[in-house]
Symmetry: C2
Subunit: 449 residues, 2 copies
């Protein structure tokens, strides 16, 4: 049997894993610099925790686990008829599936907060770096299993949190040397717009259409809005407005003057623009973000180049996320870094520093069992000093051992032959320069350190 | 709706996550000290990659994913009848499920090696630290989602690899300060025993029974063997033999003298015992390990105390693991550290060093907007020096801000009030000693570093 991998998923070999770890380490260090703490939740969640949180389209993309031991059950007839219903409607019965794979890290976070609200100290600042799963059609930059790196503060209304998130985003991408633009907007502005055009109750319809501006263009959005019977005259002004951040704010103060919530949103954006230290922020009044739980600031990051038009980070403020789990009045704000897309962009822009697939500095090689015994002894001593070293495990031709070092990019090879055993030395070869010299252990350590 | 977590899974809050990370960091550093390289594979695997690899019992424990978009399919009748079959037999159709969650990290590793054998440099040394999933009945120390930390060398027959694994195991637990016993045995010895008692073809039946010795005791194993119609006279000698490692070897040399493979196994064990530096190895001739792909040395680690009788590490040599995927002649050996059980044992033995849930050294607090502005400025400066610091995000009573620092175990609190703004200073309080003094930024940095 020729093995295959699930479409839309990937293996990461040693070098790729090291590069992913490089990104994760930078993100973690920035999250921790601002006092965020790690959280881990399971991949498995109860189906009812997830369904109804991501809209109809999202619900369809949740991977559901087939109940195990179906055939040991006493309720075969019920199960069969429930399955029939599942095939007919979009409904999935608890007799068929009770567990699912998490779709993002935000809903599991809300579940965690609701379940632990008595013991949590608010404001609660957590980060979470784990895989999520979506039953999506695989395509460029879209995977069925991918890592999100989430950072959220819950239990504080202050815009200071938005400012700190902007700072984390800026510092992270700057450390990664990845040139990006941070787009921000505010759902209250979108609320205000819906109010001003007399379509207050159609907010979600409006935002989901505007959200597609990048993909289907101005004409596409217009067409979609018309098909939804939303008047487009006054909306077009918004979609077509060009200007600096200050001009946008002036324009919106006029446009939204009859909407209290709209003006609130403008004030919030103005505060962020006036107080952030970041120079890469773009106030984009057409930024909408699809998810319907956002209520204030929204964030999106796109790479300046790298052939990926989709966003590599998204997020926003949500006032009522934990309400669904019975915990009211806890406002939060957070963003999610897309590890896999960041990786892809950095790879295509060749932004990774020189990273080796292992930490091994020295391969010890030999001709026979006596040499092997000496190599093992020496390796033990070096490892006790925390020096990463390998001993070639099999007695094979020395050429083959050097080949191994070469393919693995190990910078030094030490040979212990009969002479070296006698002299208590190692013949050390620098694989880059090609130079070799007989050294004692002190000089060996000096060289490979 | 009151949210719940899937039974047999756990959330890990900040402190627990940090402790898990502490264990992972130690394991990783030891793996890398010996030249092992990271590998990541997806949680999702094709069903046929996993089934048939873990025996009948194992197959029943594989979580299978319900095919999505069942109801968009054209083949509703086929699906319905296939589902009926699933309910009747133990068979699960590809019309119902094509994907599953990995059951361990070994089979995905074998799949990876088979799919990438052209580009891999052998011997290939990889480690992998990821969650695995089992549809098991949850109980103490048994989870449905848990982390394995695997370390394997593939493409080398040398016993040097076994020696290095023993060294990694010893160094890892020693660094974790966790007292353990490393049990070893060799499948060839078990083969030899089966041969000697004239039951060569019943090896798996014998090993699965012996494997239960810890759980069901000598009488239980005997009863099970008798029910399988395996003669127990000569086997009892093995199960009851007591003695030092040397006595065991002498005993087995006599017992197995008519079995070539048995003597091979004894020689291998003797080599390891003579050459290992570890002092915590116990040669246990009743150690069997359930999995049927092992062909040589087998390993198991148990904690000396901590109330968990089950193993916290297992592994062994497998000569034919990749054969199932069409890649022959690649022998490997590896072990799997059980992160969750190691965590549980360390927690119950109180072995974690003092670990804080965040890196924050300083919380900046204030009375009003002016103070907040100064705190933000100061925080920016300190973070630019990579000093982890937080600013309380909301303008609330100073007492509440101190409470936050106290609950979060933040060692220093800085207050910036009108006086401090005027003097360009901070009132710094050491939360442990209770002492406070007005300091300038240079002395502030000195204190919190």
């Amino acid at each position: 049997m020729k093995p295959t991998i699930v479409r839309g998923t990937r293996d990461f070999g040693p070098l790729e894993s090291k590069k992913r770890q490089y990104i994760i380490d930078i993100l973690k260090s920035k999250f921790e610099l601002f006092g965020f703490m790690p959280l881990e939740t399971p991949c498995l969640e109860n189906v009812q925790t997830l369904t109804g949180k991501y809209g109809d389209e999202g619900d369809q993309l949740i991977f559901k686990i087939l109940n195990s031991r179906l055939n040991e059950s006493e309720e075969k007839e019920t199960i069969e008829s429930e399955f029939k219903k599942t095939l007919q409607n979009k409904y999935t019965s608890k007799y068929i599936t009770e567990k699912a794979l998490r779709y993002d890290l935000t809903v599991p976070f809300a579940r965690y907060v609701s379940m632990n609200s008595n013991t949590i100290t608010y404001p609660f600042k957590r980060y979470q770096i784990q895989p999520v799963f979506r039953a999506d059609k695989p395509q460029k930059g879209r995977y069925r299993e991918f890592y999100q790196c989430d950072v959220d503060i819950i239990g504080s209304n202050s815009l200071l949190n938005e400012l700190e998130l902007l700072s984390i985003i800026d510092k992270s991408f700057s450390k990664l040397m990845l040139p990006v633009t941070i787009k921000i907007n505010n759902r209250k502005i979108l609320n205000g717009i819906a109010e001003v055009i007399g379509q207050k109750d159609r907010l979600l319809d409006i935002t989901t259409s505007i959200d597609k501006l990048d993909k289907i263009g101005f004409d596409g959005v217009l067409k979609e809005l018309i098909s939804k019977e939303i008047p487009t005259d006054k909306l077009s002004e918004i979609l077509l407005f060009k200007g600096s951040s200050i001009e946008k704010i002036l324009f919106l103060r006029e446009y939204l003057k009859s909407s209290e919530i709209g003006i609130d949103g403008v004030n919030e954006i103005e505060y962020l623009l006036n107080n952030t230290q970041s120079k890469i922020i773009d106030f984009d009044i057409t930024l909408a973000r699809g998810l319907d739980y956002y209520t204030g600031t929204i964030f999106e990051v796109k790479s300046n180049g790298g052939g990926l038009s989709s966003s590599i980070l998204g997020g926003g403020r949500y006032d009522n996320l934990t309400n669904i789990f019975g915990l009211n009045g806890v406002s939060g704000v957070g963003v999610s870094f897309g590890l896999d897309r960041i990786y892809d962009v950095m790879e295509s822009l060749d932004l990774f520093p020189s990273i080796r697939e292992s930490n091994t500095n020295l391969l010890l090689t030999y001709f026979d069992l006596d040499g092997q015994t000496e190599c093992i002894k020496l390796a033990n001593r070096l490892r006790n000093l925390e020096l990463p070293v390998e001993v070639y495990p099999d007695i094979v031709k020395i050429r083959k051992q050097f080949e191994y070092a070469d393919k693995r990019n190990i910078p030094f090879v030490g040979v212990i032959g009969p002479n070296e055993i006698k002299n208590n030395t190692v013949m050390l070869k620098d694989m880059n320069s090609g130079k070799q010299e007989e050294v004692d252990i002190i000089n060996l350590i000096k060289s490979i350190k």
